[in-house]
Symmetry: C2
Subunit: 408 residues, 2 copies
C-alpha cells in the first residue's frame, strides 16, 4: 500500500470543504479576523477542549453543539476571545452561530464557533456580523469544483493573533479506491502549554469516519501533538481543536488502511503543533526535548514538558549556554518517577552528562549546536522503554515586550 | 503580655549564636562566599527540603545530620551548588562538615552544610577549605559577650548569588522572665517557586524548644512563607530552610507565650520570603496576590501561586497593563475548585471584575496603581472562608538577560 504524503494547500484540500477569511475590523489593524469553514454535506465532528476552569462562551456552545457528533460549518474570529463577559458572551456566540447557519443554509445546531484574542471585552457584534456575511458570500460564490486554496488560506490568516507564521498543512493517502485527504490550520503563539494553550486547531478530512472513532483519533493525536507544546505555561480559556470528517472521498479508512490514515492524521497534528512552538511569542529558537527510556509514557511526557517549559532552560538556550544542570533540575521537579543518577543528557549529538554527572564535553562543539535555530535535547533515563517528545521555544526579550503591552 | 517587635541585627541577635562570612574566591568576583553559623551550645535543629527529585549532595548530608534533631554549626557557600557531580560531591560536602567540626571543636554529626550556585561543577575544595578556616578563626576570636552584627551580616552576604538585597532580619518577644529572640537570613532570587525554589534560609532562636516542636513550627511557617513565593517556577536541587534553637534565653515559649512566639517566628519567615520575591531576578515590581473566600486553604494557595507565577500576568504587570483576564485565566488553570462566574478581582483598591466579568473601571485609577513598585491583587471567590497570599515579581527584560548568561 502506498504511503501518505504532504500536499500543498489548506482546509479545502479535502473534497467537499470550503473555507474563507475576511477583514471585518475586529482587530484594529487592517487584518483578516473572521473566517468560515463549510462542508458541502453534514460531517462527523469531534472536539478537544481546554482544561482551564474558566471556559470562553464560544467554547461552551461548541462543546454543546458537538454532542450529536455532527457539524457542517465553523465560524471563527480573532481579535476578541469572547471570554469572561457574562451573558452578553453567550448571546454573542449564539448570534454568530445563528447568522452563519442562515447565511450558509445549514441547521444552526450544525454550526461550531471559536474565538481568540483579548479576554474580558464584549464582542463588537456589528463588525462580526458584517464579517460573517462577507465570508459566507465568498463561500456561496465558489464553485465546488474549483481549487480554493487562496480563500482557504485567508481562513488560516484570520485566526492569527500574535502569530507570525501561517499554520496550514494538508496531506493525502492514496488508497485502492481513490485518495483520502486531511488538512488543518492552527493558531497559537503565547499562552501555550500542556493541556491546551491559547490554541485553536481545525482539521478537515474527506475520509468516511464515524464521529466516535474520529473523537478517539483526535484525542490520541492531540495528546502527542498540541498537548506536548509549551510556550509560557499559561493555559487559556479558549483552546480547542475540532475535526470534521465529511466522507466526501467515499473511502472508509478501516482494515489495513487505518494505521496509515491514523499516522497521517497524527503527523498533521504534530506538524501544526511544532509550528506553534516555532512561532512562540518572541521565540528565536525552536526546542525539541526527547525523553527515552522512561518507566511510563506519562513519566516521559511529564519530563519532556517540564524541561521544555522551564524558564531557566528557555533563557539558557536564548543565551546559548550549555547549562545541562538546569535540564536535569527541571526533570527533577516534573513529578515523574526516575533516578537522576542514571540520567544521560545530550545537546544534539554532544553528550553533556552521563549518569547524572557532567562530562568534560567540548564547549566548542556545544556552542556550535546551540548557535542553531533548532535545538534538540535528549534525556535517556534507563528506566524502561517509554518515549515522548515536547516542543517549545526559548524565552527572549521579545516575549517580555510582546506580553508587556498586549491589551493596549 | 507584651507583643513582639522587629530588631536591628542578624543571626547573632539571639543569645549564644555567632556567625561569620569570608571571601574565599569560590565566586570569581571579590565577594563573600563562605559562611558559618555557630551556637555556643548544641541546639535543637530542624529542616525543610526541596521536593525536587534531584537533590544536591550537601542537602542529602544535612538531612541525614538532622535525624537526631541536634546541630551546633552550619557551613555554607555560594558560587557552587555542589549538585550533580557524583561521588565527588558527597566527598566535598562531607569534607566541609569535617573541617568545620574540627575548626570549631564540635562533633562532626552536629554540623550542617548548604551550598548554592552553579549546578554540575565540582567544588573548588582548596578555596573552600581556606574559607572555612578563615570564617572559623573569625568566630573563635569573638568574645561571646560583644555584639557581632557586622560579622553576622557578612554571613548573610556570603550566601547571595544573583541576589541584590541582603535578606537579614531579627525580632524579639519580651516575656515575664526575659526576652526571646529569633533571627534569620535567606538567599534566593531566580529559580524560586512553590515547594522551595533555589532558596536557602537559616533561622536562629534562643528559645528553648524541643526539636520535634521546632520542626512542626518550621514546616507550618514555611508553608505560608517560603512556599508562597514564586519567581520563575523552577524548583531547585539545593533548597532548604534550617532552624536552630539553642535555648540560651532560658525561656520555653509555651502556654500563652506560644501563640505570640509562633506568630513572631512565622512573621520572620514571611518577611524573608517577601524579600526574596522583591529581589526576584530582574524584578521591577513586587506582587502580592491575596485570595479570599476559597473553599479550602489548599485551593486558596493554588490560586494565589498560579496567578503570581503566570508568565502572562507577570509580563502584564511589567507593562503596567490592567489585564485582569489573564488573572482570572491563571486562577482557572490552578487546579483549584471554584466558580469563575462568582469571582471578584481587585487591583489594589480598584475593582476590575465582578462575578467573573469585567467592570468599566477607571483606567486612570488602575494606571496609577500599576505604576507603583508594589502591587496587590485581590481575588474574592465567595466559596468559603479560606485565605492565602502569594508573593512574586514581574517578568522583565532583565530576567532574560540575567538567565541567558548565568553559567558563563
Amino acid at each position: 500500500m502506498a504511503t501518505w504524503k504532504w500536499l500543498k494547500g489548506g482546509l479545502s484540500a479535502p473534497k467537499g470543504f470550503l473555507a474563507s477569511g475576511v477583514k471585518a475590523g475586529v482587530k484594529y489593524e487592517n487584518k483578516y479576523d473572521v473566517a468560515l469553514i463549510y462542508s458541502e454535506q453534514p460531517a462527523q465532528a469531534a472536539g478537544v477542549f481546554t482544561r482551564n476552569r474558566v471556559k470562553a462562551h464560544p467554547l461552551l456552545l461548541t462543546r454543546q453543539q458537538l454532542s450529536n457528533g455532527v457539524a457542517q460549518a465553523v465560524v471563527m474570529n480573532s481579535g476578541n476571545a469572547n471570554s469572561c463577559v457574562g451573558e452578553a458572551g453567550d448571546r454573542a456566540a449564539l448570534a454568530m452561530v445563528r447568522q452563519t447557519a442562515q447565511e450558509l443554509g445549514v441547521p444552526p445546531e450544525d454550526v461550531l464557533v471559536a474565538s481568540t484574542g483579548v479576554i474580558g471585552v464584549e464582542m463588537p457584534m456589528e463588525r462580526i456580523a458584517g464579517g460573517i456575511h462577507a465570508a459566507a458570500q465568498e463561500i456561496l460564490m465558489m464553485s465546488s469544483a474549483g481549487a480554493h486554496e487562496e480563500s482557504a488560506h485567508r481562513a488560516a490568516l484570520a485566526i492569527m493573533t500574535t502569530d507570525t507564521l501561517v499554520k496550514e498543512f494538508a496531506c493525502e493517502l492514496p488508497c485502492a479506491d481513490g485518495v483520502i485527504r486531511v488538512a488543518g490550520i492552527a493558531k497559537g503563539s503565547g499562552m501555550i502549554h500542556p493541556n491546551m494553550g491559547t490554541l485553536l486547531g481545525f482539521v478537515t478530512t474527506d475520509a468516511d469516519i464515524p464521529a466516535e472513532e474520529l473523537r478517539r483519533l483526535l484525542s490520541e493525536s492531540v495528546e502527542d501533538s498540541f498537548n506536548m507544546v509549551t510556550v509560557d505555561g499559561d493555559t487559556s480559556t479558549n483552546d480547542m481543536v475540532v475535526a470534521l470528517a465529511n466522507g466526501a472521498s467515499g473511502i472508509r479508512p478501516d482494515g489495513e488502511v487505518w494505521p496509515e490514515f491514523a499516522a497521517m492524521f497524527k503527523a498533521l497534528c504534530v506538524k501544526l503543533a511544532q509550528e506553534i512552538a516555532r512561532d512562540g511569542e518572541g521565540a528565536s529558537k525552536f526546542l525539541s526535548v526527547h525523553v527515552h527510556g522512561a518507566k511510563s509514557k506519562e513519566d516521559a511526557r511529564k519530563i519532556a514538558k517540564s524541561v521544555c517549559g522551564s524558564s531557566l532552560v528557555k533563557t539558557a538556550f536564548f543565551g546559548e549556554d550549555a547549562n545541562w544542570g538546569r535540564i536535569l533540575c527541571a526533570a527533577g521537579y516534573a513529578g515523574a518517577d526516575f533516578d537522576p543518577d542514571q540520567t544521560d543528557i545530550f545537546l544534539g549529538s554532544v553528550q553533556v552528562a552521563a549518569s547524572g554527572q557532567g562530562l568534560a564535553f567540548s564547549e566548542e562543539e556545544a556552542a556550535k549546536i546551540l548557535a542553531h535555530k533548532e535545538i534538540s535535547v535528549f534525556l535517556r533515563l534507563h528506566e524502561g522503554d517509554a518515549v515522548a517528545t515536547a516542543w517549545g521555544c526559548d524565552l527572549t526579550h521579545e516575549y517580555v515586550t510582546i506580553n508587556g503591552s498586549y491589551r493596549t
